[in-house]
Amino acid sequence: MSVAEKKPRVIEPDSLIGKRIPKMDAPEKASGRTRYIHDINLSGQLYGRILRSARIHALIKSIDTSAARALPGVHVVITAADIPDQRPIGVARDHFPLKVGRVRSQRDEIAAVAAESEEIAEAALKLIRVVYEDLPVISDPEEAIKPGAALIHPEPHGADGTHLHLKQGTSIAHKGKPDNIAMTFDYVHGDVIQGEAESDVVIEDTFRLHYVTHCCMGVSGMIAEFDASGNLLMYSNTQVPFLHKREFAEYLNMDPARIRIIQPPIGGGFGSKLDIYPFEVICLYLARAAKRPVKMLFTREEEFLASPTRQPVLLTLRSGCKKDGTLTFRQVHTLHDNGAYTSWGATTPFVMMQTFSSLYRVPHCDYHTAAVYTNNPYAGSFRGYGNLQATFAIEQHMDMLAERIGMDSLAFRLKNAQDSGETTGQGMVFKSCGFKDCINTAAQRSDYTRKFKENEVNRSRPGNIRRGIGMASMLHVGGGAKIYPSDGCGTILKMDDFANVTLITGASEIGQGSETVLSQLVCEELGLPISAITVVNNDTAITPWDVGVHASRTTFIAGNSAIGAAKKAKTKILAVAAKKYECAESDLDLRGGFVIKASSGEVVVELSKLLRNLHFQDKAELVMTTFYYEPPSVHQDKGFKGDVSAAYAWGAQVVEVEVDTDTGRVRMTKVTGAHDVGRVLNRLGIEGQIEGGVVMGQGYALTEELLIENGVMKNPNFRDYKLVTAPEIPEMDISFIESMDGEGPQGAKGVGEAPAICVAAATANAICNATGVRMFELPFTPEKVYRALHGQTPKLYWKPWRADQ
C-alpha cells in the first residue's frame, strides 16, 4: 500500500489591523432595515408626551389637569403633586423631573400624559391649565454672578418669610443656594506672577464661545415597561447603561438588580446621552402609573428645546512668552453659563484645564472657572468636552504671541511642543507622543509656511476674495479618563463548535464603529476572519459592566478588554492542541481558522474540529473566557493633578479659507489634519471618524448657533439652526501618525473626540491670516465676519469674576 505524498497545507500570515473594514452595521443602516427605538412597539403600549413651561422663569401657582384626565383615550396625567416620591436628578441633584412650584427655563417639565395615541396625548396637553406668576429672567451669566442678583435656586423660606435653614446634606433641589454659582474649579501649577515677571511679551484677550447642540439624526426616546413582578425593562438610547441603571434605581427608589436596560441601535450620541434627563424619569413614572408600557419620543423641535447643549463659555486668557519663543505662563478665567440646572457642561473644566496646563510646555498655569445658574438651556457633554473652547483661545494666542515676538508661528509651536517621556505640570505623563510629527506633517502637507506668508502679502491686492491659512493643535485623553471609581470594561467571549466567536462586551455602540473595531481585535488574536464573530453589546442583563461611552475611551479600554478575553481563549486552545498533538504550546499559533505550526504556518488541525473534540469528549469543556480591563491611570488629587489617562492623543489641523470681504462669507476650502492615533486599526472607520469630526468642528466654527434671547430659543429647527450641508464640506487631507502606544490595543489610542477640537481655532487663525482681523467670538457667520472687517465689533473684554485676581 502506498500513500500519496500529500503536501501539507500552509496558511500565510495575514492581519486585520490597519485594513479598511466596513462597519458591521452598515448594510442594515444603508438599506433602512435598522430598528431604532422609533421602530420598536410593544403590545399594549401607551404614548407619553410632556407639557413644558410656557414661561422662562415663574412660580407655578396652580395646575388644572381635570379636562386632560377626562379626555377619552387618556390613561394617566401626572404632575409633581402626583409623584410624592420624586427625587432630585442631574449631576448636582438640583431639579426634579416634574418641576415643583417653579419653572426656571423654557424646557421645564410641568406635566405628562400617557394616552392611547400620540395625537390624544398631544390633545390632552392642550387641555392642561397652568397659572404662572412671572419672575425676572436672568439670561446673562455676567449678571447672574453679581452679588445681589436674583436667585435661580433660592433657599426655601417659610410662609412668614423666615429662612428655613434646611439641614446640610439635602440636595440643591430641596435646600436651594445662597448664590447662583453652580460649580467652581481652581487649578494652579507654578507661579504665574513669577511667570509674568519672566515674560518679554504678555497678552490678554477675552473669547466668547456660543451655544450649539448635537443634532443627532435620531431624536431622543425611550420605552419603559414594568412586568407583573415589578421589574423594569427600559429600551433606552443611553451611552452609559450601567451607571444609569444604578441612578434610575435611586430615582425610583428600587433595587438596581430589578432594572434591565436594552439599547436599540442609537441614532447618534456625541455625548448627549451621558446624563439622565427628566423625560426618561417621567416616562418611568408614566409606565409605573399606567401599568402599561409607555413609549416617549421627542419631536425635532423638542429635541432642540430639551436636549443638552455644548457649554457656552466666556473666557479671559492671559499668556506670556520670552523673546526666544519660550512660553512662560497662562492665566485663565472662565465664566460658564450653566443654564437652569447642572449637567456635565459644568464639569468641562476637567478637560479645559488639561489643555491650558499641558498642551505645550507651560511652566506656570493658573486656571479658574465659575459655572453660573441662569434661565438659559442647560449644557451637557458634547464631543470634545470643553476642549474646543479652550483650544479656540490657546491656539489664537499661540499665533498672536508668535507675531508679537516676530517668530514664525510654526517654529513657535514646535519650540514649545512636548516629546514623549515628559510629565506636565498637571502630572500627565506622555508615554507615547507624536505631537511634533503631527505639527510638521500638517504643515508640510498643506504648505503652511509658504501660503501663510503669501496670504499676508496678498491682503493688499484688489478684489473681494482673501485667502487664509491657519493652524491649531490639540491634546486630548486617548486612553480613557479615570473619573469614576473604575474606568474599566468587561468582556465575555465564547466560541461555538464551528469556531465562531460571540463577543459580549460592556461597550455600547452609538454609531462610532466600536463593534467593528472590537471584532477586528478579537479575530486578530484568534486568527479568524471577521465574518466569524457576533457582537452582543446592548443588554445590561447579558453584558458585563462598562463605565460608558465617553472620553474617547471605547477602542482603548473595551479593546484591551476584548483582547484580554481573546488571549485567554487562545491560551486555552493552544494548551489543548499542544497536549493533543504532543508539542509545546509555543510551537503553535492560530491563523485563518486553523491551529498551525508557528514556525512554518503548516496546518495542524482545523480550529472548529479541535473545539468539537474538546466539547464532545469525556471531560467535556467549552472555550468561554471573561476579562476585565482596568487602565493603569490614576485619579486626580484634590488639586486636579495626576495621570488621569493611560494614553494621550495629539493632533494638528491646518484650515484654509476664502473670505469674501463684500459679504463676510467664509468658505472653508481645505483641512489638512495629522492625528497621533497610536495605530490605525480600521482605516475606513478612522477616516470616517476624523472626517465626521472635522465637519462637526466646521459647523461649530462657521454656521451652527442656538440663538437664545432672554432664555427663549429662537431657532429650534433645521431651517434656522444651520448645520453644514454637503457642498460646504472642504477637501480633506488626513494623515495618521502611528506612535504605537505601549498600553494601547495593538498600539492604538482613542480619537473619537479629537478631530472636532482644532477646527474653530484654526479657522480663526486662517481668517486673521486672510484679512488681518482677529475674531474672538464664534460662530464666524457672514454678518459677524463682515462687522469685524469693518471695525463694527467692539473689543470683547470680560473682567475675571474673582475680585482678587
Binding site: 463684500d662 462669507r665 429647527n717 444651520k722 457642498p727 460646504e728 454678518e783
Partner: protein
C-alpha cells in the same frame, strides 16, 4: 397639527374653484410650506383641505402668443428643466437653482411659492423683474371667472396676498423679453443650499450700447413683502454703467430699503449687503 374635517381632491378647475366658494378651505399643492407651518401651529388648517394636485388646468409650461404661461402646479425642478424657461428666462432658472434642496424642489410648486408670499421667496424676485402677472380663477356665480393682476401688486404682507379666499392662483404669465434683455439674480445666505435668503436681488432691463433702460430692480427679505425698488430703478434708468453711476446707485439702493433685525441678520447688515451686492451685480453687467 390641526385636523381638517373634509378632504377634497378635485380633478378639474371647475370643481376646485367651486369648492372654494364657501371660503373655509386650505389649499394643498406641494405641501412644503403648508406642512411645517401647520405642524408648528403657525397656520391652522381650515374645515376643508383641498388637494389641487389632480387639476390638469394648473400644469404645464406653454408659449401663448408673446407670453409664456407657467401653471401654478409646476414644480421648481420642472421649471429648471424646461426648454422654454431656459431659453427665455435664465434668471428664473438661476433662482430655482438656489431654491431649498433637490428633494424640496421636486415637490414645491411655483404657485405655492407665490401664495406663501414670503418676503424671501426665491422665485418672487426674478418674477418681479420679469414683470410677471398672476392668473386667478373663481366662480362667483355658476361659471368660471378668470382675471389677472401684476405680481408687483399681488403681495400685501408676510404670507398675505390680494388673492381672495374664493380665488385660486392658476399660473403666471410672463412676456417673452425683447432683444438685448438682461436679467440677473443673487441670493445671499449663510449656506449655498437649504437656506432662507438674508437678502436677494433681481436686476433686469434692456442693455443697448452700454445704456440700461426699462430697468427693473427687486429686493427680497428687506421688507414685509418682496419689493420693487422704484428709486433704484429711477437712478439706473437710461444710465451708462460706469463706476460712478454704479457707486451712486448702490448707495440709493441701500438707503431705499427698510429691513428689520431677525434671526438671520440685522437691518444694518442687510442694508450693507443690498449696497455691496447691487454694486457687484451692476459691475458684472457692465463688464459683460
Amino acid at each position: 397639527m390641526t385636523e381638517p374635517k373634509h378632504y377634497f381632491a378635485p380633478t378639474s378647475l371647475d370643481q376646485a374653484v367651486e369648492c372654494l366658494k364657501d371660503g373655509d378651505v386650505t389649499i394643498l399643492a406641494g405641501g412644503t410650506d403648508l406642512t411645517p407651518q401647520s405642524q408648528s401651529g403657525k397656520l391652522r388648517i381650515k374645515q376643508t383641505l383641498m388637494n389641487i394636485r389632480r387639476v390638469p388646468e394648473l400644469t404645464g409650461i406653454t408659449l401663448e402668443g408673446d407670453e409664456i404661461r407657467i401653471g401654478a402646479l409646476t414644480t421648481i425642478t420642472e421649471i429648471m428643466e424646461n426648454a422654454l424657461v431656459k431659453q427665455h428666462f435664465p434668471v428664473l432658472v438661476e433662482a430655482c437653482d438656489h431654491f431649498a434642496s433637490d428633494q424640496i424642489r421636486n415637490v414645491a410648486t411655483l404657485g405655492g411659492n407665490i401664495c406663501n408670499a414670503s418676503p424671501a421667496g426665491d422665485t418672487l424676485i426674478p418674477l418681479l423683474v420679469l414683470d410677471a402677472s398672476v392668473e386667478l380663477a373663481s366662480m362667483p356665480e355658476a361659471t368660471l371667472y378668470r382675471h389677472s393682476m401684476p405680481l408687483s401688486t399681488f403681495f400685501v404682507g408676510p404670507g398675505k396676498t390680494r388673492r381672495s379666499l374664493c380665488e385660486l392662483v392658476t399660473g403666471v404669465r410672463i412676456r417673452v423679453p425683447g432683444p438685448n434683455h438682461i436679467a440677473h439674480f443673487h441670493k445671499l445666505g449663510t449656506r449655498p443650499a437649504l437656506d432662507i435668503s438674508t437678502i436677494s436681488i433681481g436686476i433686469a432691463g434692456t442693455l443697448k450700447e452700454g445704456i440700461l433702460s426699462n430697468v427693473r430692480v427687486a429686493f427680497g427679505a428687506v421688507a414685509p413683502t418682496p419689493v420693487r425698488a422704484s428709486q433704484t430703478e429711477k437712478a439706473l434708468e437710461g444710465q451708462r454703467l460706469d463706476a460712478v453711476t454704479i457707486g451712486k446707485v448702490a448707495g440709493i439702493a441701500r438707503d431705499e430699503v427698510k429691513p428689520i433685525d431677525d434671526v438671520r441678520a440685522t437691518a444694518w447688515y442687510r442694508k450693507e449687503m443690498i449696497h455691496n451686492i447691487t454694486k457687484r451685480m451692476l459691475s458684472h453687467v457692465a463688464q459683460a
